[in-house]
């Protein structure tokens, strides 16, 4: 029996335990981070009115502020919503004025309007610069927002853009 079981010195065993604990700690941290990302994604989806159905994240980032932050969430637009927008246009969004997650004024959007959106040259689209999108995504959003065919709704500290031509939804916030 003594021949069959490999003898491991105590320091080597300690090293193995430490190695396992370090790997376990790293995995736990990674698990917590990814769980946070999933919760953040669901929170942002709940910031959109129920009539606007997203299909997967394109970009979700902010400047990391604690109480007040600036950032943007860009989602793909679901096929269903895109089709309804194509059929009914602005009329489809008329009732889409309240975020999924709350019924108070913080979740309330002003009336929907058609683009082109008047974009402040210095400030750009609210929240988007804080999310630091790549140049191609930024170009697509700005181009679609600057020509007819898309829709937007403002709220106190945010802007919601639906861009059917690019198949994108952008929700930018600051405050």
């Amino acid at each position: 029996m003594a021949v069959l079981l490999p003898r491991v010195s105590p320091w080597r065993r300690t090293l193995r335990v430490l190695q396992f604990l370090a790997v376990l700690w790293c995995s736990l941290m990674l698990g917590l981070y990814l769980s946070y990302k999933v919760v953040e994604r669901q929170w942002m989806i709940r910031s959109l009115p129920a009539a606007i159905e997203p299909r997967g994240v394109v970009l979700l980032a902010d400047d990391g502020g604690f109480r007040e932050s600036c950032g943007a969430a860009v989602f793909r637009l679901s096929g269903d919503t895109a089709q309804r927008l194509q059929e009914h246009g602005l009329q489809y969004l008329e009732q889409a004025l309240q975020a999924r997650r709350n019924n108070d004024r913080y979740g309330h959007f002003e009336q929907w309007q058609q683009t082109p959106l008047d974009i402040d040259v210095d400030e750009g689209l609210i929240g988007l610069s804080c999310a630091e999108p790549d140049k191609d995504l930024q170009r697509r959003i700005y181009q679609a927002a600057g020509r007819p065919g898309s829709f937007y709704a403002k709220k106190d500290d945010g802007l919601l853009l639906v861009l059917p031509s690019e198949g994108l939804i952008m929700f930018g916030y600051s405050g």
């Binding site: 790997v23 990674l30 990302k37 299909r55 997967g56």
Partner: protein, 88 residues
């Protein structure tokens, strides 16, 4: 009982290895398509974890077993999470 615990432990280690590898691959995937953003803290943590896992990877390479199955499970878990986050 001891064998059962040892086997579950091996599967769990494999799961952690697979999940870490999956995360690193997905961060690299971000160079081409939408994927986990490069986060300096967590990407470094994953790379350090991969280095610490070197002996486990050697073991998985040498002998197929529960650890390797756990690794495949970890990879699949990360793949499923990625699909949910970016495509559902």
């Amino acid at each position: 009982m001891a064998t059962l615990m040892q086997r579950s432990g091996q599967g769990f280690i494999g799961l952690m290895c697979g999940a870490t590898l999956g995360y690193c691959v997905e961060v690299l995937l971000g160079l081409v398509i939408a994927s986990w953003p490069f986060n300096p803290l967590f990407t470094s943590l994953a790379v350090i974890s991969m280095v610490l896992q070197a002996s486990y990877w050697q073991r998985m390479y040498r002998e197929p077993g529960l650890m390797r199955q756990g690794m495949v499970g970890g990879l699949m878990l990360m793949g499923a999470l990625w699909l949910f986050y970016f495509h559902v």
